[in-house]
Symmetry: C2
Subunit: 205 residues, 2 copies
């Protein structure tokens, strides 16, 4: 039986997605779990909950805590971190690229490089030049990839992916989806992999 | 040098506080960390953030997820769990008792029994009879304890404790406070203990 992939739903503007995106490929490989990379946009989902901005900006106490928590967790995971001078940054263009390239072998490297640009190098990931530079570093032709990513078909594909996020009940990022089971947050990465492995074993038996 | 205690701030209405309250005494004992039990009320803090109810009720997707997450985590930690028929329940009376008895050796057992009543036995912890029954099970005289707990001095003590929560920037429960360092959520219990141990060692050196 072909194993169903564990779905990894992430948003490029999300701080805790940076942690999970940097860790998930190795964790899944060790557990021999196949991944499906699922970029999406939190903005429209937040708007439907009545938020016009990141909750970390709307609730300053929570925001202050989150930045300190990120410092500590990046140190724990040995990930580079610099608090970005702008938050949140639009991950729309990067999400279009990742949506188009989700099955490509270079996609995980691209995703991690975008997160690093945002949360360790304080670069403006909403700008085409930044994404083009990152594409070049992962061995891709920026012009070719960006043309496909910005095509009407691919824009529509990301919109549909976002509708799927809503259908699955996703309300935050990162979210791991194992069958119909949601796991929200970098803190649930290991639990999601364990649950997925167990459910696959059970169904295969 | 006398070791500073790690402060454990909890709210009896909070689901994730149930998990941390059930685990922290053993985890702290293994690490030889002294604890200070700090009951407080989230209600006034939520009101100051513009919420008149638990965010798990205001945001139904988040609420639905939280109940499923609690089921999974209670299974993982081998804690009994039954989704309460009412949420949130007022933890005011229980918090007054725990505030008064924070230094008593029976306090941790009382705290865990109240959480179990709320989240495993679906009992109404806001009622005096429930708290009286729990006090008896931990070997205390209900009448005596409740009279002290409901005294003006002790009511004021809990109000002051709540003001301290605000001063420390506490915005949710459970929160572990190691010096000035906040750790929010059951997920941070181990990190909080490790941080506290490290900071105590460093300062003692």
């Amino acid at each position: 039986m072909q194993q169903e992939p564990l779905e990894f739903w992430f948003e490029f503007a999300s701080t805790y997605s940076y942690l999970a995106a940097s860790r998930i490929e190795e964790a899944a490989a060790i557990a021999r779990v196949r991944l499906r990379w699922r970029p999406f946009l939190l903005g429209p989902i937040f708007v439907s909950q009545g938020w016009g901005d990141s909750p970390f900006n709307i609730y300053p106490l929570k925001g202050r805590y989150m930045w300190r928590d990120m410092e500590r967790l990046c140190e724990k995971y040995q990930l580079p971190f610099r608090r970005p001078s702008k938050f949140p940054r639009s991950g729309l263009l990067a999400a279009r690229v990742a949506c188009m390239a989700a099955e490509e072998p270079w996609c995980p490297r691209f995703v991690r490089a975008v997160y690093r640009a945002n949360f360790a190098e304080d670069r403006e990931i909403s700008q085409t030049e930044t994404i083009a530079e990152i594409l070049a570093t992962v061995g891709q032709s920026p012009r070719e990839v960006l043309t496909s990513a910005e095509s009407p078909e691919n824009k529509q594909r990301l919109r549909e992916q976002n509708q799927w996020a809503v259908v699955h009940g996703i309300f935050g990022a990162p979210t791991m989806l194992a069958g119909k089971e949601l796991f929200w947050g970098n803190d649930r990465l290991e639990d999601a992999i364990a649950f997925h492995l167990h459910s696959q074993t059970t169904h295969a038996g």
